[in-house]
């Protein structure tokens, strides 16, 4: 048998191998490039628009230069605080159920599946639900409804990450607590949850960072507010919401503010994600294994 066809096939196969590698590298570059471009552009446009005024002033009336987004920053803080109040306890409770009480049961599997599916529901639908639940009975937009919308979004995420972290606690730790005659609820809270708490906290931070940038659910709940407002009963400004309103407006000055706001938002989110990564890479359970 002559070796020529074999050699040709072999060359083609090597060519295909190199080609595939090239394509893979090319795709990676193509993917990373816009990301880098976005970041650089954001920093460039945002930094030049950021000044002290941004953080301490409220927006000026249309047409006037200057002003800031102080009310939006504070508003976001209030909304996120409210959302965490709703989302974190319920989410952690759900995670505790999945890990400590329902492990392996069909019910727990259903809860877990539903939580994952809920995570994929568009956030605007959550906003509609909050609108229906809160805005309609109250007859007006409010910070409270915005907090509810964001809080509902946090629950599935916090629930799943809490479950994951609790599952990492070795069973022998639970047995040690039970063996001492510690009541089950005390054992779960003071031992298991406490051991997993670094991981649980990072999970909450992830959920926090995710809802911090959400705009859609706030459009018809918190609604936005060009003035200083901290009451839970009134419409309130929020950073991502303000960015959107300014971006689609025809005023250059507001565009400038939008870029500055975007930069602030992205810095906060990058900080949160990096912190989460740092903590999880160091090992969330010190000495538990």
């Amino acid at each position: 048998m002559s070796s020529a066809p074999f050699a040709l096939r072999s060359k083609l196969r090597t060519l295909a191998d190199h080609g595939a590698t090239a394509v893979a590298i090319f795709s990676t570059v193509l993917v990373i490039a816009p990301l880098v471009a976005i970041f650089i552009y954001l920093v460039y446009k945002g930094a030049s628009s950021l000044n002290l005024d941004f953080f301490i002033k409220v927006p000026k009336p249309v047409g006037e230069a200057g002003g800031g987004m102080a009310n939006a920053i504070v508003g976001s803080g209030i909304l996120l605080g409210l959302a965490s109040l709703i989302g974190v306890p319920i989410g952690i409770g759900g995670g505790i159920y999945l890990s400590e009480f329902g492990r392996g049961t069909k019910l727990a599997n259903a809860v877990r599946f539903t939580a994952d599916v809920l995570n994929g529901v568009p956030s605007i639908v959550m906003g509609i639900a909050a609108y229906s639940l809160v805005v309609v009975p109250m007859h007006h937009f409010s910070a409270f409804s915005g907090g509810v919308a964001l809080g509902i979004m946090m629950i599935p995420t916090v629930c799943r990450t809490t479950e994951e972290m609790l599952l990492m606690v070795p069973n022998v730790v639970r047995e040690a607590a039970l063996g001492l005659g510690v009541p089950n609820w005390r054992s779960v809270m003071a031992i298991t949850v406490k051991t997993a708490s670094p991981g649980i906290i990072t999970g909450c931070m992830l959920a926090f960072a995710r809802v911090a940038g959400e705009t859609a659910p706030l459009i018809f709940t918190a609604f936005g507010n060009s003035f200083w407002s901290t009451g839970l009963n009134q419409p309130i400004a929020a950073l991502p919401l303000q960015i959107w309103v300014y971006a689609i407006s025809p005023y250059d000055d507001w565009h400038r503010l939008a870029w500055a706001g975007a930069l602030v938002l992205i810095i906060l989110i990058v900080l949160a994600v990096s912190l989460v990564r740092y903590v999880t890479s160091r090992g969330v359970l010190k000495g538990a294994s």
Partner: protein
């Protein structure tokens, strides 16, 4: 003072697996009783029935009577109450990873609401002395975490933690099997000392260990208790051929 344990017709299941069949025996108080047998024979399951830890597994089931002192632990009491009277030391040392040495020893009390600080200090010291760990850790009680000790020290910490709640019975499930020989011998010394205050039931793979520390020994095989007698008799003149086969190393 330790109390005796009376076991009557104990049966245990893991799901459909009948892991313990018709166990009957009387464990004397203030003595050490060893339980020996090959892997999977049910001795660990048995001790976990004595402090109602077996039923923490959702597919586990127990029937029969276990009387500790004069309390039927299944009929007359709740698991949490029993586990305060019957302490357990596990095969692998399992100190609470987020707690200091002090907090580990005090855990059984603090988590049950005991708040008298001065009394706690005394109890912690006493328990650590009783488990031969005091001298090694007395300067780092609150500074070092429980998990930063060596394996043998961790196991003695677990013993101290179990002793701090002043149980009447101490169950030890192969307490030295994960430890080096030096730590093992320290633990065996401990058992000797603790016998005078507690009833000790020790599961062991190591027949020489049983011979060294226990007055009575029970031989388990395939979920049944084959023979239960004084250690001397078990190791020199066992009544059952299966016992003899095991101790001479024919199997297991």
């Amino acid at each position: 003072m330790g109390v005796g344990i009376e076991v009557i017709n104990l049966n245990a299941w893991y799901g459909t697996n009948h892991s313990l069949q018709d166990i009957n025996l009387n464990i004397p108080g203030n003595q050490a009783t060893a339980l020996i047998g090959p892997s999977g024979c049910g001795k660990s399951t048995f001790v976990r029935c004595l402090n109602r830890m077996h039923e923490t597994n959702p597919i586990a089931r127990v029937t029969g009577t276990v009387r500790i002192g004069d309390v039927d632990i299944y009929a007359d009491a709740k698991p949490v109450e029993i586990r305060r009277r019957v302490g357990m030391v596990f095969q692998r040392p399992n100190p609470f990873p987020t707690m200091s040495i002090y907090d580990n020893v005090a855990a059984g009390l603090k988590l049950n609401g005991y708040s008298n600080r001065r009394a706690l200090d005394e109890i912690v010291e006493k328990s650590l002395r009783n488990s031969a760990l005091w001298d090694e850790v007395k300067d780092d009680l609150r500074k070092k975490s429980g998990a930063s000790l060596s394996g043998g020290q961790q196991q003695r910490l677990c013993i101290a933690r179990a002793l701090a709640v002043d149980p009447e019975v101490l169950l030890m499930d192969e307490p030295a099997s994960a430890l080096d020989p030096v730590s093992t011998s320290k633990i065996e010394d401990l058992i000797f000392q603790l016998k005078s205050q507690y009833t000790i039931v020790i599961v062991t793979h190591n027949m020489q260990q049983a011979a060294r520390v226990a007055e009575k020994t029970g031989f388990f095989l395939n979920g049944r208790m084959v023979e239960f007698d004084s250690t001397h008799k078990i190791f020199t003149n066992p009544s059952d051929k299966r016992t003899e086969d095991y101790i001479t190393g024919r199997f297991g």
